[in-house]
């Protein structure tokens, strides 16, 4: 595919004002699909979760999943939306093998939630309020795999394979109003907005919110308005933008691509574009055309959803603290500077941090372990930090350091033992014999021995050359196999040096 001309980003911003819009699809984590009792699970064998209803076979009849309605209402409320007094489903008719029904069951003129708002904060501190037009319910499509042709792409494929396990999984599609005034922040606004949606659905517990599994998917609409004009440009809709970084890159790419095209006298085609994660470019999909005449009509097999105001209020009472407010509160409680707090947020460690601190660990110590050693081990193993250890285990580990049972170095060994499933930190300390030796007896014996074998060092220490003690401390730590508190060893070395006999080897052990 020919590589598109791109204009320098700053130059593009000088000439044009970007106007954005986002459609975010959230897959709900109900146990079953939207309209049938087939399991809603990721990663099952192909076509194992299908039935006549989600395959669109004769005789299939949809039945609405109550849990999906509740999740949709809660999500609508969390986005500041009004919840419709009556809402209904509609058929969106199209022919494409990702649905066997030849229509998607969606909502058209009566979405469950509408007129919301979400305020996001950019890294600069700039606050942007995104108006939400609507959040409507629909069912997901099946998964297509394109075979033959170039690298699994739809263009040039010889044939395609379909797995309908995902077909019928409940989705909420969140549609923004036009976002104007984004200016150079446009890419960051896209990323931050999608991140905020992801954070909200996770906090609500209505979705697994794993972008890599397609639980949260974004379509990014971008158009450019020439400076000084009040006429909107033609927009493109980039699909398949399924990571936060991709949202940012795709928006930036479209701004640069459209600017170059418009400046060269070209026109933007209103079309769907595909985002290619590997190459970082978008390519033209099908143009908007007659095929988009979806002939929506009310779904005759389903009756309206009319949530009572009492039900809505009951659901409103179950909403968690908004993630943005929670972040502000936690950062203040923990006394973290921005960098420290961002580190925790970016590593997705807020929940485990909160639990660890609630279990008694000091905030800075919890941060040090979660973003340090635990993150390092998780990274090496290719898993999440929270899958390795529990907050309670980390809090117990930190408590053992605080009370002097463990040094940081020993604690890392204990952590390994905990991760290896050897038990609680205390159990690992006991079974591996890792506690700091706090009984001075064996220490003093080791120190006296070290001092006696290095009489020159002893002489120096006695002359007041305290730094010479390092050699003895090293020897003692080695003799103790590291299971000694270095500060205590230093203290004792100086103490023993003061009373040790000079040049009298071998020394008699102290009584």
């Amino acid at each position: 595919m020919a590589k598109a001309e791109l204009m320098d980003y700053d130059k593009a911003l000088e000439l044009f004002e970007p106007v954005l819009g986002f459609e975010v699809h959230v897959e709900l984590n109900t146990k079953t699909k939207m309209f049938c009792g087939c399991a809603n699970e990721f990663g099952s064998g192909a076509n194992t979760n299908t039935c006549p209803t989600c395959l669109g076979l004769p005789g299939g009849l949809p039945q609405v999943n109550r849990q999906a309605i509740e999740s949709s209402i809660r999500l609508g409320l969390a986005l500041g939306c009004e919840i419709a007094e009556t809402s209904r489903f509609a058929r969106k008719n199209y022919f494409y093998p990702d649905t066997a029904k030849n229509f998607q069951t969606s909502q058209y003129d009566e979405p469950i939630a509408f007129n919301g708002q979400l305020t996001i904060e950019l890294e600069s501190g700039r606050q942007v309020t995104v108006d939400i037009e609507r959040a409507h319910m629909e069912d997901d499509a099946g998964k297509l795999t394109h075979m033959g042709g170039a690298a699994g792409r739809i263009q040039g494929a010889d044939y395609s394979l379909v797995d309908y396990n995902r077909g019928g999984v409940p989705l909420v599609e969140i549609v923004t109003q036009m976002i104007e005034g984004a200016e150079a922040d446009a890419p960051e606004i896209g990323k931050t907005y999608v991140a905020a949606i992801r954070e909200i659905v996770k906090a609500l517990g209505v979705s697994n919110a794993r972008m890599e599994e397609g639980n949260v998917r974004c379509d990014a609409n971008v158009s450019l308005r020439p400076r000084g004009s009040n006429i909107l440009g033609t927009r493109t809709e980039t699909k398949n933008v399924n990571s936060l970084r991709s949202v940012e890159r795709a928006v930036r790419y479209e701004i640069q691509r459209q600017a170059a095209l418009l400046t060269a006298g070209g026109t933007i085609t209103q079309e769907t574009r595909h985002w290619h994660e590997d190459t970082g470019v978008t390519s033209a999909g099908r143009p908007k055309s007659d095929a988009d005449d979806y002939r929506y009509f009310p779904e005759p097999d389903l009756v309206p959803v009319a949530p009572s105001r009492a039900w809505v209020e009951e659901l409103r009472a179950t909403l968690p603290e908004p993630p943005a407010a929670r972040r502000k509160r936690l950062q203040a409680d923990w006394g973290f500077v921005n960098l420290e707090f961002q580190d925790v947020v970016n590593s997705d460690l807020l929940d485990v941090m909160e639990a660890t601190i609630a279990a008694g660990a000091p905030a800075q110590a919890a941060r040090k372990w979660w973003t340090g050693e635990i993150a390092r081990l998780a990274n090496a193993a290719g898993v999440t930090a929270e899958s390795l250890v529990t907050p309670a285990q980390v809090a117990a580990l930190i408590a053992l350091i605080t009370d002097g049972t463990l040094t940081d170095r020993l604690a890392r060994q204990v952590l390994e033992g905990v991760i290896a499933g050897e038990g609680t930190p205390s159990e690992v300390v006991a079974s591996r014999g890792l506690a700091v030796v706090s009984d001075d007896g064996p220490l003093i014996a080791a120190i006296d021995e070290a001092l006696a074998s290095q009489p020159d060092v002893l002489a120096k220490i006695r002359d007041g050359k305290v730094q010479a003690a390092g050699a003895v401390i090293g020897a003692v730590m080695k003799a103790m196999r590291g299971q000694a508190d270095a500060a205590r060893v230093r203290e004792l070395v100086l103490e023993r040096a003061g009373s040790a006999p000079v040049e009298q080897a071998p020394a008699e052990p102290a009584e």
Binding site: M1, T30, K31, T32, C36, G37, C38, A39, G45, A46, N47, T48, T50, C51, P52, L55, L57, Q63, V64, N65, R66, Q67, A68, T86, R88, N93, F95, Y96, P97, A100, L144, T145, H146, M147, G149, I154, Q155, G156, A157, D158, Y159, S160, L161, V162, D163, Y164, A284, R286, D290, A291, D293, R295, P298, P300, L302, V303, P304, V305, A306, P307
Partner: protein, 98 residues
């Protein structure tokens, strides 16, 4: 008389992937016109205080619990498919080479 044209019927047939002969298009143009006229009659007597309705039954909020029920087996699911490859439905190429 309605304003349904043969062009509209042909367009609709195309969207619905229904192959109609010109004789069928002529007949359906008349029939669809009559249906539209009939609906227009109803619209004449429906005053603004009568809300639009999409369903004849005065029912709302018919839900099922979120409980998994057994699905079809893979072979049952694929039994009506024109073609399969392993456990997946096999369909013809979707887009032409660009």
């Amino acid at each position: 008389m309605s304003e349904i044209t043969a062009e509209q019927v042909a367009h609709l047939a195309n969207l619905a992937r229904i192959d109609l002969s010109s004789a069928e298009i002529d007949r359906l143009t008349v029939e669809l016109g009559q249906i539209v006229d009939s609906v227009a009659k109803v619209a004449e007597v429906a005053t603004p205080d009568v809300p639009a309705t999409s369903h004849p039954m005065p029912l709302t909020n018919v839900f099922r619990d979120d409980v998994v029920v057994p699905s079809l087996t893979v072979d049952q699911a694929l039994s009506g498919a024109p073609d399969r490859a392993g456990d997946k439905f096999r369909v013809p190429a979707i887009l032409d080479e660009e």
